[in-house]
Amino acid sequence: MDLKDKLVSSFMAFENNIDVEHPVHDVRIEAMKNFEIKGFPSKKEEAWKYTSLKGLQKIDFSIFPKQEKTLEYKDVKKYFIHDIDTYKIVFVDGVFSSHLSETTHDGVDICLMSSALTKPMYKQIIDVYFNKVASKDESLTSLNTAFSKEGAYIYIPKGKMPKKPVEIIHFATGNEASLLLQPRNLIIVEENAELQIIERHQSLTSNEVLTNSVTEIFAAKSANIDYYKVQNDSAKASLIDNTYVDQKDRSFVNVHTFSLGGKLTRNNLNFYQNGEYMDSTMKGVTILAEKQHVDHHTLVHHIQPNCESHQDYKGIYGENSTGVFNGKIIVDKVAQKTNAFQKNNNILISDKATINTKPQLEIFADDVKCSHGCTIGQLDEDALFYLQSRGIPKKEARALLMYAFANNVLESVRIPELKTRINKLIAKKIGVNLGFDL
């Protein structure tokens, strides 16, 4: 039985364990219908031209983990940003782990999607926000919607700011031979409120894991959100991340994506600018080796005038890795005075690595400034020689240059401890000890 059929038939089993009377269930049924019609996207579709899900579909993923496994904090401590205090929402094999987590209802709600979807006190918010910005057309998002049950739920009321950043971590323990996870996150930041989030998916085994995650983010007027995605998973872990952001007047939303590992990673990052004078920033560093594959698919839809968007993606591709960048900017007819910038720089360091990039602009307004730039190249031989002539060994010199290449994305990380952490990850990935903390 292929994965699609399996998913479709498991939907009934899934229905046995949830409240089918809840209005959200109608949304699930609709989504399931859409997935049934569309199935998994194939390479024939323009948006999936460079990423094939064929291999993944052959794997017999278990959809509902059978047994729970508990993890000790000391075993997984290294995956947390443990040098600062954070709120934590931790899932082990898709199940909430209360002893690893630290949630709160003190002024802000940092808790679970499962309670938001079932408890009557959240009903009003769920009615207004759930599945409102996520695509109803895209098949994998529909698949997630159909099975939506668990994930992170964050609600920051007007003018509030949580005392510390929020960490969302998904662990896969390898209890099942192969596991499909479908977390569903809902993040609402009201007027003048602020939020910082660090998200991570971590497989602790060499068993196959596929995560199809959907995150909906609503930034109300003058809200400020920083979202950091750390993707440094094991060689058997695949991730399809679908993030949808709805922004209102004067809000700022920054999403940083650090793709440093994993078998197949697909990031669908969509911004809808439903207001004026706002700013959307998407930045990414991708450093790949082995046979890893990362596909960044971004969309910024400028719907109203006087907004800005900035995209800056850097990629370093080694060994047999493949990278894809597809950035799309749409400027509607009324969205005059839009400034949209997009940059994608890539370095290929291996003969077998491949990069496919497609920066795409669709502009219907005339008074706009839009640009995109894209480069594919190598490390600068002159700079390398300069460093070597000053006694820095070639390997370190190369690492320094690669680090410098990625640095301006890192610079805008606003949590210092996270920055240090990512610096270390990058240094490790490049494979050198530079003798100082980057």
């Binding site: 497609k358 602009l361 706009v368």
Partner: protein
């Protein structure tokens, strides 16, 4: 200011297509529709050898199974391929005639278009192979070219006289199975140009062809094959204007260029087919497949100025097969009213040290949609490949759209690729600056547009550059609000 912006806009909308007239030439036209019988009849009419008929039929069979492509960013009513007549020749045509024998009506038509087959072109040192509807009616300068061993003739004649060359090269760059319109063209093409430059010969003059669509309801399917043998050079011009017709006319041409070792081909196009009226009614559908292949050290340079057609679907491409070969693409695409253009290029780098440059300027006005779609592909064995692409769009008015779809695929670590794109409008301050110095708004716009497209205009041969500049002005007159 003499004009207000409103007046300018109005004038543009009501401005009729300058070259929109219709010459009544008695045509020998086939019944409408397409089937194997029609393909055979075209072949027979052309007195073609057996292999050519077979080649056409093969293409037709492939075409029958194909579906019209939908991926382009254009919307139009699909042509009914059974409602088109696939052959129409002016009756008076006879390839052996001299200029004096040419139908005076035809000559009058060229005169109106400012193309004189006679002295004028001779003075300008341009040999013209004119195509009206589907049959060539006059060929000049044959002698001068023949002395150098250059073959320049209608492709139908080449099939008769040089079957070995045609047989060897036709369909090698654009196979019959390449795409829907290429297959259709292969099956039903009626004429076009053939050009062969022998080893080491540098063609002393610009070769040029003017295409025109005349008879209402006939599609024109041109086939051009240019072969530059080792170490040769040729500059080829192609220019088009079409009489105003109400129903949509289909044009599906195929152009194949072959540049052998050390050869260079420069192919320039000025396209000004009827774009439809200000309501978007009528106009030519231009679905063209143009591709060239470069052997060692060869160079192919495409230059195009596209101002006409209701729908344009065109991607002149280079396959950089040989080491050190060079591909260039310079394009200006102007769309106004309801015109739609989806155009760009493909640079396929296969050989070592191959280089390509892409400069594309899109100008959209009125309610038009202008897209750049390009592919830069670096094969895994293309060491030290280099590409530079620049696509700039200029938007006039807030009802038009500019789109870019650049695909970049690199499989070699030594590749160096740069891609840049910008979108902007004509600055009010720029216009104000000109106004201040006594230049009216209209002229100021022409000036700015010229500056914007200069990089490409400069690449055109002299005669064309002037013509192209004029065309730009005509197509954009008063389009800025």
């Amino acid at each position: 200011m003499a004009y207000t912006e409103e007046e300018l806009k109005k004038e543009l909308e009501t401005k009729e297509y300058e070259y929109g007239f219709y010459t009544d030439i008695e045509s020998d036209t086939f019944p409408k529709g397409l089937n194997e019988g029609i393909v055979r009849a075209i072949s027979k009419k052309k007195n073609e050898p057996e292999w050519m008929t077979e080649w056409r039929l093969e293409a037709f069979r492939v075409w029958e199974k194909m579906e019209e492509p939908e991926w382009a960013n254009v919307r139009y009513e699909k042509p009914d391929f059974q409602a088109i007549s696939y052959y129409s020749a002016p009756k008076a045509a006879d390839p052996n005639k001299t200029l004096e024998d040419v139908d005076p009506d035809l000559l009058e038509m060229y005169r109106k278009l400012g193309i004189s087959v006679d002295e004028q072109k001779k003075l300008q040192n341009v040999a013209v192979d004119i195509v009206v509807d589907s049959v060539s009616v006059a060929t000049t300068f044959k002698k001068t070219l023949a002395e150098k061993g250059i073959i320049f003739m209608p492709i139908s004649e080449a099939i008769q006289k040089h079957p070995e060359l045609v047989k060897k090269y036709m369909g090698t760059v654009v196979p019959t199975t390449d795409n829907f319109y290429a297959a259709l063209n292969s099956a039903v093409f009626t004429d076009g140009s053939f050009c062969y430059i022998p080893k080491g010969v540098s063609c002393p003059m610009e070769l040029s062809t003017y295409f025109r669509i005349n008879e209402g309801g006939t599609g024109q399917f041109e086939r051009t094959l240019v072969i530059a043998d080792k170490g040769s050079y040729v500059s080829y011009l192609e220019g088009c204007t079409a009489p105003s017709r109400d129903e949509n006319q289909l044009h599906a041409a195929v152009v194949e260029l072959i540049a052998m070792d050390d050869a260079e081909i420069k192919y320039s196009t000025v396209q000004n087919w009827y774009p439809g009226n200000s309501e978007g009614k009528g106009g030519v559908y231009n679905f063209v497949t143009k591709r060239g292949i470069c052997e060692r050290n060869a160079k192919i340079s495409w230059t195009q100025v596209e101002t006409g057609s209701a729908v344009t679907w065109k991607y002149p491409s280079c396959i950089l097969k040989g080491a050190n070969s060079v591909g260039e693409f310079y394009s200006i695409a102007v769309t106004n009213n309801y015109q739609q253009a989806d155009t760009g290029t493909k640079m396929i780098h296969l050989g070592k040290n191959t280089k390509s440059t892409i400069i594309s300027k899109g100008i959209s006005a009125g309610k038009s949609q202008n897209s750049y779609r390009g592919l830069v592909q670096i094969g895994s064995r293309a060491e030290n490949a280099r590409n530079f692409s620049q696509c700039d769009s200029l938007l006039m008015g807030n009802e038009c759209g500019a789109h870019t779809f650049p695909y970049i695929e690199a499989k070699n670590k030594s590749a160096q690729i740069e891609h840049e794109a910008t979108t902007s409008k004509i600055g009010e301050d720029q216009i104000f600056y000109c106004n201040q110095r006594g230049i009216d708004t209209e002229k100021a716009i022409a000036l700015i547009v010229n500056g914007f497209s200069k990089e490409v205009l400069n690449k055109l041969p002299m005669e064309f550059a002037v013509e192209a500049q004029k065309l730009l002005e005509i197509s954009l007159e008063g389009s800025v609000g």
